[in-house]
Amino acid sequence: MTPDDIVFSDEELIDQLRRLRHELAAPAAVIAAATDAFRWRSVAVAVAGLEFDSLVDDDDQLARVRGSGAERRLRFASPGRSVEVAVVDNNCGLAGRVDPPVVGTMVLRHPDGSAISTPLDERGEFFFEAVGRGPVSLRPVLADALTSDFETEWVTI
């Protein structure tokens, strides 16, 4: 489509706006969730961006089917630190590793404010069982610290 394809008369534009309003208006709960997202604003924390997702970045479909089975692999990175995660499809279990390794707790956050945590062992590895679907973010907390200065981008699993 080129921009030239989208030249409408006034009435056509109004008709389109009417249809969009009718068919594609965000439901109230979706707007409420979007408004609520602001509570997660944190300025003093480094965000590790989603750098690799086997769902969209791995073109070798066959290898994925034959190789690691139902695993979806994700990698989040920020300068000097990364988190690698494998998502097991059936129950959305999460196994992962922080590099370089840190000992402490990995906190998994849901948008509603609830969170679950699991130990980070000396290899920086962690495992969550049956996380469920929806947006999540991970935040490693060092053993001797109360808070973290590092978290992953939100991603839908």
Binding site: P3, I6, L20, R21, L24, P27, A37, V56, W154
Partner: protein
């Protein structure tokens, strides 16, 4: 677009009201993008939420705050494509499903895709318009449309200026659609597979 820039800068410095203003402007756009990829309401709600959470994470480091609309549309589209694949992998596999897809008429599919892309561009253009124009055009799209008297009162305009203002706003919308099309389509097309 300066109103958008202003809202982004205020929200980035912690102004919750400005954030609500951004949600009010762009929530429909993000939702439309998720739906245009073919997601059901539950998955589209997840994509919308993830998109807004990401926006909140990055609102302080957007290169051009006035381009929040294309940023949100591109992020939503990428996340929606991701989730559409996630959904497909969780379904019971029907080995013959591809046969049905092969029957689909190519021209019909292209036309449907073009229509959805157009919807997204128009949604984005509407979202970034100056507040008065945006409210006026939204009101014009109400069904049934409000009376001139009540609309003029709502917008603080004289009844006599509604017609010319409406025409001017529509022209502005048309120009924004032209201007935003290449950005939005270029930023999202490569990640869409149908």
């Amino acid at each position: 677009m300066d109103e958008v820039r202003d809202l982004v800068l205020r929200a980035a410095s912690g102004d919750a009201e400005a954030w609500s203003g951004l949600v009010g402007r762009f929530a429909d756009l993000v939702w439309s993008v998720a739906r245009s990829v073919g997601l059901n309401a539950t998955d589209a709600a997840d994509v919308s939420q993830t998109t807004w959470l990401r926006f909140c994470e990055h609102i302080g480091d957007l290169r051009d705050p006035s381009r929040a609309g294309p940023w949100l549309a591109t992020t939503a589209r990428r996340e929606a494509v991701r989730v559409s694949k996630l959904g497909a992998r969780q379904l019971v596999v029907d080995p013959w499903a591809w046969l049905e897809r092969a029957d689909v008429d190519g021209a019909e599919v292209s036309s449907a895709v073009a229509g959805k892309e157009r919807d997204v561009v128009v949604q984005c253009a509407l979202a970034v318009m100056p507040e008065r124009c945006r409210l006026l055009l939204q009101a014009a799209a109400e069904d049934p449309p409000p009376s001139y008297g009540s609309l003029a009162a709502r917008l603080g305009l004289a009844v006599g200026s509604l017609g010319p203002t409406r025409r001017r706003c529509l022209e502005q919308l048309r120009q924004l659609v032209q201007r935003l099309s290449p950005d939005l389509l270029e930023g999202t097309k490569s990640s869409v597979r149908l």
